[in-house]
């Protein structure tokens, strides 16, 4: 935190306490990470409660799912390929 920002925080009456370096790094990374932002936005758009403690596991699950989806997402299929949402064996 710079002197100017510390002063600003002081003006708002908050105690200027520095978060541990690792935590700040994580927080900055999370802010930049598109998947983190997607998870936050999707939770908000879908009105899903997402407690901070749950977010890493939700994000990890979504990341695995997207990685798996990438295995078939670009698999060439014709435009008229029929989907099988109601499946017949």
């Amino acid at each position: 935190m710079t002197k100017r920002r510390a002063k600003s925080a002081g003006k708002r009456g908050r105690k200027a306490v520095r978060a541990p370096a690792a935590k700040r790094t994580r927080a900055r990374r999370a802010h930049r990470d598109p998947l983190d932002r997607f998870v936050d936005a999707a939770a908000q758009a879908l009105a899903l409660p997402l407690e901070p403690a749950w977010k890493p596991a939700v994000r990890a699950n979504l990341e695995v799912t997207l990685r798996l989806a990438s295995l078939y997402a670009d698999f060439p299929l014709p435009d008229d390929a029929e989907p099988a949402p109601v499946f017949k064996a």
């Binding site: 998870v39 939700v58 979504l62 798996l68 989806a69 295995l71 078939y72 698999f75 299929l77 109601v86």
Partner: protein, 462 residues
């Protein structure tokens, strides 16, 4: 008759060597003695079961015909409706549901054949599970080693049958939830063709992938139960209109003339030595020399995974909004993530599904059945989060079903047969073309006759 097969019980009750009341009473006694160890049951229906058993004995005394499963105690995964109970589906949330007004179709059909429902069974929450662990009801425990998983999500179904508490149970299988516990508990399981058995009166998970079927300690018991449950059902829109095709009379036809191959490629990878050994034993017993690679099985598994997560998330969206804290955290976090999956990826998965189905069905022009592992390993320890295979650490929960998912994805019928390895058993999948349960069951029966597949009796300290 604690370790008797359903067929043996039905025979003994039919000819008067045993009464249904005595058989059911013995099952209830064994449940009372051992369920503290196995944690397979979430409800025991003593009064209902004894009343039904006495009615069967009265029917026999008055000379009325008995069904093919007369006096056979059975239990069901607690996602099946049981009249008078809320249908839990392994959850805390469903405890506040209204009590079911009637039994699920398959319970009605088994009881119409003389079987006797004795209880409801533990399961992974909302069936989104391969481990058999449940934060609300506790983990179901493997009868061969109570420190190990039963597998899931039909965890109590596996434990109750393998532990000799009942000879027959019903489970559901969306991605492997009958075949995984059958494998880890060392029993037989049948996942029929998609749409073959009615799902009416069961709590859903992934409508486009959900199957229901029996678990038992012999192939004949699977066949008897399957035959008793076949038939159209207007209450399940997916249930086939095909007339029943009884398989029990076909079991003794043997494997002569059947073309059997072992699935290579994807199904040979990611296997611990015990899974390889089990497949090798089955291959040797059947004299199989052909190998066939199932095309794009890895992509199929991925697409099944995505459809499951997405449909599961959609099904539970309201409950996630209202009662997120009441879910098992491991299930909740997956469902929330599932609800966020972009629709384009799900639509593509459904398109890929039809393409994959066509390619796999072409294989059945060349063979009648495929062999593959049911699970990559025998039962992990309860609480174990990951295993290391080929130097890669993999989460247990998601990976116990890697060999079952590409098969249920296109609804093929499968019998999981137990190979009684030591110290723990493990299963092999016998996969047939749609509607050819008879082929898979004939092969399973032949393996059982040869002593290669068997449900070993565990020693349980209760």
């Amino acid at each position: 008759m604690q370790w008797a097969h359903a067929s043996e019980i039905a025979g003994a009750v039919a000819d008067g060597r045993a009464s249904a009341a005595a058989v059911v009473g013995a099952s209830l006694t064994r449940i009372a003695r051992l369920d503290g160890v196995l944690n397979a049951f979430t409800a025991v229906l003593k009064a209902r079961a004894l009343a039904k058993a006495e009615a069967i004995d009265a029917a026999r005394a008055s000379g009325r015909p008995l069904g093919s499963l007369a006096g056979v105690p059975f239990a069901v995964k607690n996602l099946f409706d049981i009249a008078g109970l809320p249908t839990l589906a392994g959850s805390k949330i469903n405890r506040s549901r209204p009590r079911a007004a009637r039994d699920a179709t398959l319970i009605e059909r088994l009881e119409a054949s003389g079987a006797v429902l004795v209880g409801a069974l533990n399961m992974g929450e909302y069936a989104y599970d391969f481990t058999g662990e449940n934060v609300h009801d506790g983990a179901a425990r493997n009868p061969h080693d109570p420190d190990r998983m039963t597998g899931g999500s039909s965890s109590g179904s596996g434990g109750a049958v393998a532990g000799g508490l009942v000879p027959l149970a019903l489970g559901s299988d969306t991605n492997g939830s009958i075949r995984v516990p059958a494998s880890l508990c060392g029993i037989f399981g049948l996942k029929p063709t998609y749409g073959q058995l009615s799902r009416a009166g069961t709590f859903p998970f992934v409508a486009s992938l959900d199957h229901v079927g029996p678990l038992a300690r012999s192939t004949r018991d699977l066949a008897l139960a399957y035959d008793a449950m076949q038939g159209p059902d207007p209450n399940d829109p997916v249930c086939t209109d095909r007339p029943p095709e009884p398989v029990t009379p076909l079991l003794d036809r043997g494997v002569e003339g059947l073309r059997i191959a072992v699935a290579s490629g994807y199904f040979r990878a990611a296997c611990f030595p015990e899974a390889q050994a089990a497949v090798a034993r089955v291959v040797a017993a059947l004299g199989v020399t052909d190998e066939i690679e199932v095309p794009e099985a890895k992509r199929a598994r991925a697409a099944a995974y995505v459809i499951t997560a997405s449909e599961g998330g959609a099904l539970h969206l309201g409950r996630l909004r209202e009662r997120a804290r009441d879910f098992d955290p491991a299930v909740r976090d997956r469902l929330i993530a599932g609800a966020m999956i972009p629709a384009a990826l799900v639509a593509k998965a459904q398109k890929f599904r039809r393409w994959y189905r066509e390619r796999v069905l072409e294989l059945f022009g060349r063979v009648d059945a495929l062999l593959a592992p049911a699970t990559p390993c025998s039962a992990p320890r309860i609480g174990q989060k990951s295993f290391v295979l080929d130097g890669v650490e993999m989460p247990v929960r998601a990976n116990l079903g890697i060999h079952t998912q590409p098969i249920s994805f296109i609804g093929l019928p499968v019998v999981a047969v137990p190979v009684p390895l030591k110290p723990m058993p493990i299963g092999v999948q016998i996969i047939a073309a749609p509607w050819r349960e008879d082929v898979a069951l004939r092969i399973a029966h032949a393996l059982e006759q040869a002593g290669v597949a068997a449900a070993g009796e565990p020693t349980i300290k209760g």
